[in-house]
């Protein structure tokens, strides 16, 4: 019996300890800029803009959206595709996306494909990134214009009918 108990305890520890370490309710912003919305909709008012890697606490999930609390104490909504479980690491040289990265994260950071790798790649290939940069810099269509576009075309506006 006591052996059984200790085995169960060991298994429980094996499961729970990593879960606690990883912090199951914490997620990181997985996009360059994430708009925290007042309501679970892309047409909702923005209450805070978060940047890549910032961590938020998940309060609950609802149809593809997460109700979250930011580090500054705001409570609002992020679409689940805007976040990723756990922490993200940063590429070296991207000063603007490094928020409070600890030493370990910085040590991990220079791995994989980074800005430095891209810069060397484009030089070696003699590749022109002008159009890629231009398209990326283009403003996204304003949500109000998008809603008007859908209405004018007799289309359905997502999230307005409770999808």
């Amino acid at each position: 019996m006591s052996r059984y108990k200790s085995v169960m305890l060991a298994i429980a520890a094996g499961v729970l300890v990593p879960m606690l370490i990883h912090g199951s309710a914490q997620v990181s912003v997985a996009v360059k800029e994430a708009r925290v919305r007042e309501v679970p909709s892309f047409f909702g008012e923005t209450i805070e803009v978060l940047t890549y890697g910032q961590q938020v606490r998940v309060l609950h999930d609802e149809r593809g959206w997460k109700r979250i609390e930011t580090s500054s104490g705001n409570i609002g909504w992020l679409h689940e595709s805007a976040v990723t479980a756990g922490r993200v690491t940063f590429s070296a040289g991207d000063g603007d996306v490094r928020h409070g990265a600890g030493d370990e994260e910085v040590a991990l950071a220079a791995r994989g494909f980074t800005e430095q790798v891209e810069s060397r790649y484009r030089t070696e290939r003699g590749l022109d990134y002008e159009w890629v940069d231009r398209l990326e810099a283009q403003e996204a269509i304003n949500p109000d214009d998008l809603r008007e576009f859908l209405r004018e075309g007799g289309l359905k506006v997502p999230e307005e009918d409770g999808r």
Partner: protein, 315 residues
């Protein structure tokens, strides 16, 4: 709207399965966690003089035995990969520099992306027309969708354009581009370099990573341009397209009509798409199945058809 299957499981009778699953997940996260911990550990150990280079290398070899998957790329790395794929395609095809046309395309495309299962991507979705008669469409992993004038001419409605764009967004949603990178390269990219204890990778490490990067981009572009995705990936993108269209009330019949047009165009073998896509007749059956049990949306309004004709009617 389903986002993950795990949330739907019945709790009671599956409890045993969940416990086993949790244990497996726990053990797995410990194993995966070890890779990072070992590598950081060796770096710090070397920097502080507690581990010599040989010991560090041995530690790393054991840690690196874990194979990595394309799912392990961070969103930022996916972004850099996508930018390179976009730059490669835009070096082969000239963009059609008409702002009104591209704005219209972005309104359709960004609406569809918003209705997809992955509305948020690192730097957002962008859409652009390529100035060529070739019938083709490309999606790069950073959310950039490029469609040729040739493929746009195969349809005569906004719903048809939506079908083309939604299919491409489907490839991005399912990360089909990243999946085209060989696993050996993914593992090498995610486990090499930056273990010397210094904060910034050395130029040799950057050079090594750039080689892996170049080969990875080549894996994707050769798939997009020459060999094509697997039939399974095309099916997934078609199903995703039907879903996005239904959520906005675009008529998925337009996707069927487009596939029929492509079928006819395939006969002549003049189009780029014929090299890289399964025969449209096979895809038609998949789309028909995905459309089953959904009511047909209301017919397109006059305003929708008018704006299409004004902006893309003469493409």
């Amino acid at each position: 709207m389903t986002f993950s299957s795990s949330g739907k499981r019945a709790v009671g009778p599956r409890f045993g399965g969940l416990v086993v699953g949790a244990i497996v997940a726990g053990v797995f996260s410990v194993v995966v966690g070890c890779v990072a911990i070992t590598r950081v550990g060796t770096g710090i150990g070397m920097a502080t003089g507690h581990v010599d280079e040989n010991q560090a290398a041995a530690l790393e070899r054991s840690a690196e035995a874990v194979e990595r998957s394309f799912e392990d790329f961070t969103p930022e790395q996916e972004h850099y990969i996508g930018r390179a794929v976009g730059a490669e395609i835009l070096s082969r095809y000239e963009p059609f520099d008409e702002s009104k046309v591209n704005e219209y395309l972005n309104k359709i495309g960004q609406s569809l992306a918003m209705a997809s299962d992955r509305p948020e991507i690192f730097a957002g979705y962008r859409f652009v027309v390529l100035d060529t008669d070739e019938v083709n469409a490309f999606a790069s992993p950073n959310g950039l969708v490029m469609v040729t004038r040739g493929i746009l001419r195969l349809t005569d409605s906004e719903d048809g354009v939506a079908a083309i764009l939604a299919h491409e967004i489907g490839h991005i949603e399912h990360k089909h581009g990243l999946a085209a990178i060989r696993t050996s390269r993914v593992t090498a990219a995610l486990t090499s370099a930056a273990i010397t204890g210094v904060r910034v990778a050395s130029s040799e490490e950057i050079a090594e990573l750039t080689d892996i990067f170049e080969n990875s981009i080549e894996d994707i572009t050769s798939t997009l341009i020459d060999s094509g995705y697997s039939r399974g990936a095309e099916r997934e993108a078609d199903r995703a397209a039907v879903r996005m269209m239904q959520r906005l009330n675009y008529d998925p019949d337009a996707l069927l009509a487009l596939l029929e047009e492509m079928d006819a165009a395939f006969e002549t073998k003049t189009i780029g798409l014929a090299r890289t896509h399964p025969a449209p007749s096979r895809r038609i059956r998949v789309v028909e199945r995905a459309m089953r049990d959904h009511p047909k949306p209301p017919a397109a309004t006059q305003a929708r058809q008018e704006r299409y004709e004004r902006l893309l009617g003469a493409i």
